[in-house]
């Protein structure tokens, strides 16, 4: 086994898939940043809110006022440098840090595919994605034909994890046997031409979509891996992601996944793209410099790199299962829900009415959430216990600074999950101001009174 591992690690493969991946990734991220900026989301999501929901342990990560624009600029610029392969290592590290910082500023905007981009850019730090057809190699007059095969497989593995885990999480009773939440979402797409008022309203179609979505996620990495099914799988990838992109407001995610799936193609395919790009470049720039083509890219610290990446993947494999350490229903408490490729599994809405009480006099009043939160923040806060707790502390601190005494913060909250009637969510007799955020199960979440079987 150890011997096999060694031969595997010494195997080489054409650098071109990695090169095309770098270019695709870089330009897509650049476009994402420009898109985000042009929609004024930097302002509405990070500058306007008076208060930000932080990640446990990362409370110090906050928006930087107007410098936030600079942060996005740096992030976009580093994405461009990654695409061009210019100062690649510095650029991808800068991208990873700036992008991750942006995501940590406010968990209201948490999306699985942002997390995917964060960890993917982390992985890319260690890969020789600038080894040819890059400004770096042009300046060094050196390029490499081959890279270690594992560096390409690492990306395939990460993409496969995303798909397979997303598929596994769909194996639950709500998704498969109630067609929830698609049964709520699809009928509301009655605007779509041709299928909106017909197919989208059909019960069987909701089930068909649920089941095929699950099967798609579980099988697509394998269909992409095998040469005979690859083009078919790619066609499915394009169809599936374009279709979901039309149905749901998921932004760049479909394109990220479509471009990522190109990594599964063989070198010849990528080589043709590179030749095509070279022809265009030569037409404009007449590049004359001779580049010395070397055979194999050699890692300076391959051993350490392998160890770091192995740890990285072990974490990736186990982190999504941490929910099993919590006793209560995952969808209800969301303890261990994030960072686990649980995508589109829940239609969850809530209502949280906060009450500030003076423990000595018993005098109380209710809080108008709109005074402190943006509509998006209020929506996200109202059904996620960690948001509710953090907001309760914010309210307590706020009213303390306004001179209120003996402050207690209670919440009356209701949550409806996947079409069930709304029911009380948080114990309204618990003073949340006295509760601390931990990784322990939150005792003050009321029981779900139902069971969702499965992963």
């Amino acid at each position: 086994m150890i011997f096999n591992l060694k031969t595997y690690l010494s195997k080489n493969y054409s650098a071109s898939p990695l090169i095309i991946f770098r270019i695709g990734f870089g330009f897509m991220m650049l476009y994402s940043i420009i898109r985000f900026w042009s929609k004024d989301w930097i302002n509405t999501l990070y500058l306007q809110p008076k208060f930000h929901f932080t990640y446990y342990g990362f409370e110090w990560v906050k928006p930087l006022g107007n410098l936030t624009y600079l942060l996005f600029f740096i992030c976009g610029l580093s994405a461009l440098f990654v695409a061009l392969g210019f100062k690649y290592r510095v650029a991808i590290i800068t991208f990873f840090l700036s992008f991750t910082y942006i995501e940590l500023m406010d968990k209201t905007t948490y999306l699985n595919h942002y997390y995917f981009i964060s960890i993917l850019s982390f992985l890319l730090i260690f890969l020789p994605a600038n080894s040819s057809f890059s400004i770096d190699s042009y300046l060094k007059k050196k390029s490499y034909r081959l890279v270690p095969k594992w560096s390409i497989d690492a990306i395939k593995l990460l993409v496969s994890i995303v798909y397979v885990y997303a598929g596994l999480t769909k194996i639950n009773s709500d998704w498969l046997f109630k067609a929830m939440p698609l049964k709520i979402w699809l009928p509301s797409k009655y605007d779509l031409p041709f299928i909106g008022e017909t197919l989208m309203q059909q019960n069987w179609f909701h089930y068909a979509m649920s089941w095929s979505g699950m099967i798609y996620d579980l099988t697509i990495p394998f269909l992409l891996l095998y040469k005979k099914t690859r083009w078919f799988a790619f066609a499915l990838v394009v169809f599936f992601h374009v279709f979901t992109g039309i149905l749901f407001p998921i932004g760049m995610f479909p394109y990220v996944m479509i471009v990522s799936s190109l990594i599964f193609f063989e070198a010849g395919f990528h080589h043709k793209i590179i030749l095509f790009l070279k022809r265009i470049l030569n037409y404009f720039f007449k590049l004359k410099q001779k580049i010395q083509v070397k055979e194999i890219y050699n890692f300076k610290h391959q051993k350490i790199t392998i160890i770091v990446l192995s740890l990285f993947f072990i974490v990736q494999l186990f982190l999504p299962f941490r929910y099993a350490l919590y006793p209560n229903e995952l969808f209800w408490t969301e303890e261990g829900y994030r960072f686990s490729w649980r995508v589109m599994l829940m239609e969850k809405m809530g209502y949280a009415n906060f009450k500030i009480t003076n423990s000595k006099t018993g005098i109380f009043f209710y809080v108008d959430n709109q005074d402190f939160l943006t509509p998006l923040q209020e929506k996200q806060m109202s059904f996620q216990p960690d948001f509710i707790l953090e907001y309760a502390h914010f309210l307590g601190d706020h009213f303390k600074s306004k001179g209120h005494k003996n402050i207690q913060v209670f919440v009356e909250s209701y949550v409806a999950l996947n079409g069930r009637l709304s029911q009380p969510f948080i114990n309204k007799n618990i003073d949340l101001y006295q509760q601390k955020e931990t990784f322990n199960p939150k005792e003050w979440i009321l029981p779900f009174n139902d069971e969702i079987k499965g992963f």
Partner: protein, 368 residues
């Protein structure tokens, strides 16, 4: 080769799925809900008749106002007060429709912002001319301002009459009273005219599920009104649910002292009638939110919402006609009514919105 086959497969899938719809529609087991019919019922049988009724009541108000100004006596004052209350009651049935022209010209801010600001009214009267449409005057116009002019400008009825007869500012008082009524009538005329001439068709055809479509805005506004205009303004704020102490001076019809309950009950009826699609004039039922929920297999929610609204009505019925009196004597009954209203907020805002799966107008960001 495989590339071609896969492309062909995609095309086939699309063709099959599209052609299949045509056959499946006549199975009819899960036919599409007719949103246009729902909006037509809401517009033709609820919104427009409500505005027409309000318009008529305001015309009567204008006549009785003219009589009173010509001859300010006890009898005419009483007639004017009656027509004011009738119009105010009718207003409760349009207060939730803050859409279209009404939103555009800030109609609601000029009809029922309370508590009214006595000082602003007094200074407007002294000036003799006032720009009633100015936002600064929102709390010095509309029904609450008339409430002050007819009941609150002095303590006793005879003193009030004096304000319009022998008082040094009697001419200015009459002028302001008249301007208020004229303004309310003219604004309402504009809204009604817009509904009957053009907006009705815009509204009933605006069925798409986008943030800006008529239906989505309408549902959002409906819930907003229930939560803010009815639950908070009429009951919660005066009962002190949002402040450390009760605020009895913030009730509706403060000076009249005997109508805040009637008005609140009318507002609640208006909300429930719309939910069930009850026609304003004939009480017959047609398509509305409740039918849409039934279509979405949510009949349990329909029952629950109606039951909770009925319960809230019972709690409001226990209150004194004058809410400020109720707050001062036994505020618990007020907060009980508030709690009963509150349960419906959850059902509307969480359960009904979830069932409709409306694209909410306020959230602009990518989802998962």
């Amino acid at each position: 080769m495989l590339k071609n086959i896969s492309l062909l497969t995609i095309v086939l899938i699309i063709v099959i799925s599209c052609s299949k719809d045509d056959d499946t529609t006549d199975l009819g087991n899960n036919d599409d809900f007719n949103r246009k019919a729902m909006l037509s019922n809401i517009a033709d049988n609820i919104i427009i008749p409500s505005y027409q009724d309000l318009n008529t009541k305001l015309e009567v108000l204008a006549f009785t106002k003219d009589d009173f100004i010509t001859d300010p006596n006890t009898e005419n004052l009483s007639a004017l007060r009656t027509s004011w209350l009738n119009a105010y009651k009718s207003w409760q049935f349009v207060e939730m429709f803050n859409i279209g022209k009404a939103e555009e010209i800030s109609y609601h801010f000029q009809m029922n912002i309370y508590p009214t600001n006595n000082d602003d009214i007094k200074s407007n009267i002294s000036l003799g001319v006032a720009d009633l449409e100015h936002p600064n005057n929102n709390d010095a116009v509309g029904f609450p301002a008339l409430d002050y002019m007819l009941y609150g400008i002095e303590d006793t009825d005879s003193a009030i009459l004096n304000k319009y007869t022998i008082d040094s500012e009697s001419e200015n008082n009459k002028l302001y009273l008249s301007d208020l009524v004229v303004q309310m009538k003219s604004l309402t005329g504009i809204i009604l005219n817009d509904w009957t001439s053009s907006y009705r068709d815009v509204f009933v055809n605006s069925t798409s599920n986008t943030a800006t479509s008529g239906f989505n805005q309408f549902v959002n506004d409906y819930i907003y009104y229930y939560e803010k205009g009815l639950r908070a303004n009429k009951i919660g704020i005066p009962a002190g649910n949002f402040s450390s102490n009760p605020l009895p001076n913030k009730v509706e019809a403060l000076f009249n002292k005997e109508s805040s309950k009637i008005l609140a009950l009318d507002a609640l009826n208006a909300v429930q009638n719309l939910f069930n699609g009850k026609s304003y004039n004939t009480n017959s039922l047609d398509s509305s939110f409740s039918d849409y929920l039934n279509y979405l297999n949510k009949s349990d929610l329909v029952t629950l919402i109606n039951n909770k609204l009925d319960l809230a009505r019972e709690k409001i019925n226990l209150l004194d006609d004058d809410f400020s009196m109720q707050i001062n004597e036994d505020n618990t009954k007020m907060t009980n009514a508030y709690d009963a209203l509150q349960t419906v907020v959850v059902l509307l805002k969480v359960d009904m919105l979830q069932a409709f799966n409306i694209s909410v107008d306020y959230v602009d960001a990518d989802g998962d």
